[in-house]
């Protein structure tokens, strides 16, 4: 298979500390893929590696069969957009100007701004409902609005692949759902391939077509959320005992964690059963 985004035997390290080792991962095209895992499991690192923010020590990432590390920076930026975790805009920069920066991979020294750029910015503002706020400085917006502005920038970049690192960080629950709905819309509207890192398993289960669970720099399970998000997997990946029930609204898995308070005593792991979930699907490596 040559189309789409694919990591092969990927090893990523900061200085000498290896964070990701031997990861093979194929991102389903046109779908929403969500990477989950405990803190420091390497999920953000994997996303950075797949968007060339990190150079691999070994292995490679392929986009439509071509190694992204050999592509021209700008050609890659026309194919793949990346929204880093909690980015910061210069004080006083307006939303419209920020979104306009998303057009830079489509511009040259010669042609700095064209009507196409104006159209793309207008559309990005409209589909994120930011048109009315376009002339406000980004730093004066609320957290949710600010994140929409950044998503609009990534959208103006107009790439078939969109990677987002924890797009809901620092947002309240209502704005988290708002941002996730927006991302789902963007996926559906243009069959854009979306890959994001999320902390919340329930949100991952609800919004992902494909879940990738990571532990200690390796992929331990991937597949449909209903197959992947099980009590055993949550225990394995997060070290947390839980029950997994069906989300009454979406029908997707809903993780209900055990704690030391206000819960019945936890049962031993072997007798822990969940009723409605099929066998855990292990990533074969």
């Amino acid at each position: 298979m040559t189309s789409g985004l694919r990591a092969e035997n990927l090893r990523l390290a900061y200085e000498k500390r290896i964070v990701i080792d031997g990861v093979d991962l194929t991102i389903p095209s046109g779908k929403v893929t969500v990477i989950v895992g405990a803190n420091a499991c390497g999920k953000s690192t994997l996303l950075r590696g797949m968007s060339r923010l990190l150079t691999p020590d070994e292995g490679a990432v392929y986009l439509d069969g071509q190694s992204i590390h050999r592509m021209r920076t700008r050609d890659l930026a026309r194919q793949l957009g990346i929204l880093p975790q909690s980015p910061v805009a210069p004080e006083g920069m307006t939303v419209r100007e920020l979104v306009g920066r998303g057009r830079s991979p489509h511009q040259t020294w010669w042609r700095q701004w064209s009507p196409d750029d104006g159209d793309a910015v207008g559309q990005a503002l409209a589909s994120t409902s930011m048109t009315d706020l376009a002339d406000r400085p980004v730093d004066e917006l609320s957290g949710g609005q600010r994140q929409r502005a950044w998503i609009a920038m990534a959208l103006a970049q107009d790439t078939p692949f969109l990677l987002l690192d924890e797009p809901t960080t620092y947002l309240d629950l209502a704005h988290q759902i708002d941002v996730l709905d927006l991302i789902a819309d963007l996926n559906l509207a243009a069959a854009r391939t979306v890959v994001m890192v999320l902390h919340d398993l329930n949100q991952a289960s609800r919004y992902a077509d494909h879940v990738v669970a990571m532990k200690s720099g390796r992929v331990v399970a991937e597949g449909d959320p209903a197959d992947v998000v099980t009590a055993e997997l949550v225990h394995d990946v997060f070290g947390l005992r839980c029950e997994v029930i069906t989300d009454p609204l979406s029908g997707t898995p809903l993780v209900v964690p055990f704690g030391r308070h206000k819960c019945p005593p936890t049962v031993p792991a072997d007798s822990e059963t969940t009723t409605h979930l099929p066998e855990k699907q292990r990533a074969d490596r």
Binding site: G81, I82, P87, P90, G92, M93, R96, R101, S104, Q112
Partner: protein, 340 residues
């Protein structure tokens, strides 16, 4: 916000023009030109503005022509080019480091130039090499040192600032040591150099800084697209297709070259690099310092500063310092209040 877009032909060049930035640039250019002309009239031999302008085109009193060409034009040109260079370099450093305090004085380039120049004056090996050439050499060496020491699988603006502060401190103490062991005459010369002055500038001071400005300013303007992506952070810039390390190296080299040549010509005129970009961005009402506006602001500050200092027989660096320091304090107080 008013932004005009232009497009020449279907496949021709296109871009954006911000009327306010353009108006500010034109106003600054007018002020700089006026100050430049007034510079030509100041001195022992009385020449008014009209005669000075005529003398530029070899018209009028031959003595006036000679005085304008031999004495006053070099001074005014050094002021103009050094001001442009300091202002533009300040804007490059501040934008790249995303920090308004990242001026060449603070990140080591100026300190390296100072140490080399003072060493030349005090230790006496400036015989064949002038203080200017030594300053140029010192500034470039210090910039290379900062860049290499900040390198760790690539650099970040933040690391460059921190390493630069360390390197600057090292050079400052070396300069102070040299001043301690200097005799009175040497120390006086060194202190005049360290203040930054346009006194006794000749054509040999003008040529290098003029070439540096004419080459590096257009180069930096070409790279300004990269610069504006870098203001969103390294990761975002890379995601937008900017070759971040290459861009930062190119921008830093232009900034360092401008500062080193300007310092070689005029000495380290205090605070211009720090203040000019901050004034420029407030005048132009832009989130980051616009390059050309900053350069023109720098030229205005140096030329007007020199005009203010001359009646008192003071070097220009004292005036820019006296005006720049309170501005720096205000900036710091404001940054504390915002919590940045």
């Amino acid at each position: 916000m008013a932004v005009l877009t232009y497009r020449i032909g279907a496949r021709g060049p296109s871009g954006e023009i911000r009327p306010r930035v353009l108006a500010v640039c034109v106003a600054l250019a007018v002020v700089a030109f006026a100050a430049f002309c007034v510079e030509l009239t100041v001195g022992d031999y009385p020449i008014d503005v009209v005669d000075a302008a005529r003398a530029l085109f070899w018209y009028g009193d031959p003595t006036a022509v000679e005085i304008v060409y031999d004495l006053r034009l070099p001074r005014a040109l050094v002021g103009l080019f050094a001001g442009l260079a300091f202002g533009m370099a300040g804007a490059l450093f501040q934008t790249m480091a995303r920090n308004p305090l990242a001026s060449p004085e603070i990140i080591g380039v100026t300190e390296g130039a100072n140490t080399a120049a003072v060493a030349g004056i005090v230790l006496g090996f400036g015989g064949t090499l002038s203080a200017s050439s030594l300053a140029l050499f010192g500034g470039l060496v210090s910039a290379v040192a900062v860049y290499l020491l900040a390198w760790r699988q690539g650099t970040t603006g933040y690391r460059i600032v921190l390493v630069g502060i360390g390197v600057a401190a090292l050079f400052t103490s070396t300069t102070n040591y040299l001043l301690q062991r200097a005799d009175l005459f040497q120390a006086q010369r060194a202190v005049v150099w360290l203040t930054g002055s346009l006194n006794l500038r000749e054509w040999r001071h003008v040529a290098p800084v003029a070439v540096a400005v004419l080459v590096l300013v257009p180069l930096a303007l070409l790279m300004s697209r990269w610069l504006s992506a870098l203001t969103l952070g390294d990761d975002t810039a890379r995601g937008l297709g900017v070759p971040v390390q290459k861009a930062r190296l190119g921008l830093m080299l232009s900034g360092v070259g401008l500062v080193a040549f300007a310092t070689a010509a005029a000495g380290p005129v205090a605070f211009v690099s720090l203040v000019a970009p901050q004034i420029a961005l407030r005048l132009a009402r832009r989130p980051t310092p616009p390059l050309l506006t900053s350069a023109l602001t720098g030229a205005v500050i140096v030329l007007v500063g020199d005009l203010m200092a001359r009646p008192f027989g003071l070097p220009v660096g004292i005036v820019t310092g006296a005006v720049g320091a309170p501005y720096l304090l205000w900036l710091l107080a404001r940054a504390n209040r915002v919590g940045a």
